[in-house]
Amino acid sequence: MKSLTVSKAVTALMLAGLVLLPLYSQLAGNVFILTLFTRIVILALAAASLNLIMGFGGMMSFGHAAYLGIGGYAVGMLAQEGVGSGFIQFPVALAASALYALVIGALSLRTRGVYFIMITLAFAQMAYYVASGLARYGGDDGLTVYKRSDFSGLINLGNRTQFYYLCLACLFGVLFLIWRIVNSRFGLVVQGLRSNEQRMQAIGFPAKRYKLVCFVISGMMCGLAGALLANNTDFISPAVMYWTRSGDLMVMVILGGMGTLFGPVMGAVVFLLLEEFLSQITEYWALIMGPLLLLIVLFGRGGIMGLLGRFNRG
């Protein structure tokens, strides 16, 4: 029981920090940190969505960045066509992500293991090339979003603090949803499928249907992150969907602790802060980051969350 309290305390500390961050930014007059953390919160949301299928569902998707692009392009393309209302943009982003997840999920879930990793990667690369071919929407160069999503006075996305809290609210909402899903009957079935699919099927659960629904939910969550990301950078380009971005998301999940609720958030915060910190001391930050990842894989099983648990147990 004691081990739980340490990781819980650290998690609570981190969440409190996230909530109070704009206050600090205001007091210290540090605008940069707020922009940085907005990005962190959005990517934490994406990592949390990946964790739902990877950690709880056992589906190792190596193409999750595709949803970031789809959500982002939904916002960017609609804005380009003169539809600035967030009430249209966000639902479209979610619907597009869901549709994509439904199609590629139905195909990919026929395979498993490494083949699943590779086929999700292949589909994401396809999405990447489709985006590169969209001449009307910037093609390779990407698309500038001149106006952020307009929620008709309800919330102003142009205001840094308001936008940050919107992203944070989305993150907490998604985490709550994941928590509810994981502890529901549906979530238990999905976790059962991760442990032993044959047995679950023998009991009479339609394995593929459960996995597919989980896959689609995760895709929609990540699509939301994409829509927020496009608003954050005022820009969307195919580079968001490149396979190394999917790799980054995987790193965040595993770094934080796969299959734990708050692990991916922790992972995103640590990964992106580390990236920021290392790139400030040296231009060649990846020279340290790369081997660090290797060491984490070799010695840090269970990620930060696992480490916190172990640390307490002694």
């Binding site: 026929r110 498993r112 589909f123 396809m126 090339y129 980051m289």
Partner: protein, 305 residues
Amino acid sequence: MLLVVEQFLNGLQFGLLLFLLAAGLTLVFGIMDLVNLAHGSLYMMGAYFAATFAAWTGSFLLGALLALGATLILGIVLEMSALRHLYGRDHLDHVLATFGLILFFNEAVRLIWGPAGLALPLPAWLTVPVPILPGIHYPAYRLAIIVVALLVALLLYLGVMRTRIGMLIRAGASNREMIGALGINIKLLYTLVFGLGAALAGLAGLMQAPILTVQIGMGENILILAFVIIVIGGIGSIRGAFLAAIFVGMIDTLGRAFLPNLLRQVLSGAAASTAAPALSSMLIYLLMAIVLVVRPEGLFPANRR
């Protein structure tokens, strides 16, 4: 006609190059069960070594040979220092650890050689066009790539099918625990196989170097293609990798060459010329998706040879 023959040969050349890369990957995967994303980095290192050594020695061939040796050594060092500890781990661990290695290699190259790309100039005797059919000339260097790659493929086939080490490799691919139990030094075998795969990747990289520029990240796109190939061909199968590599090389090259014209028949000129490259890049992934859906094990699965 000229264009068709030329593009066909280009496709063959690209396919064979992809085979060199995919062969190492599929061996490592089939035998050690290791997903090595850093394979593309070895390809990149091969190209950088070749450009450097060729500049030092002033000879293309000598530089290429030295680069081949250097990649072999680099592969062995990499296996012994890092990857060895990943055997038997989850595939996800492999993906993550070797992803870290990609970051490391890209950055190391940027530190050592700088962010700008290098060029590997060809000697004069390799730049002349060679008549292959009456009235049809083809660059000697590309022809040389085809010959070298075919030779390596043949050697690899003979080596794997006809020698004792090859027998051990095949045995390792079908049952790892068993050959260990039979008293074979698996550690050494693994290191050798990894070194061989690294050398093949290096060879592909240094041969491609004069055609494209040598630059950071050059290994990443082609690595994904190599993965597509081994998935289509069936993981662990060299024959499958060979056929799939030729197939993918052809589709990619011919798609890039002829799709724009085909598209122009149905689309406006501007739309066609932007859509075509994207579409031909997509073709391969589409092919892979179809293969995986129809035959999830790949076309030539290794354990059903």
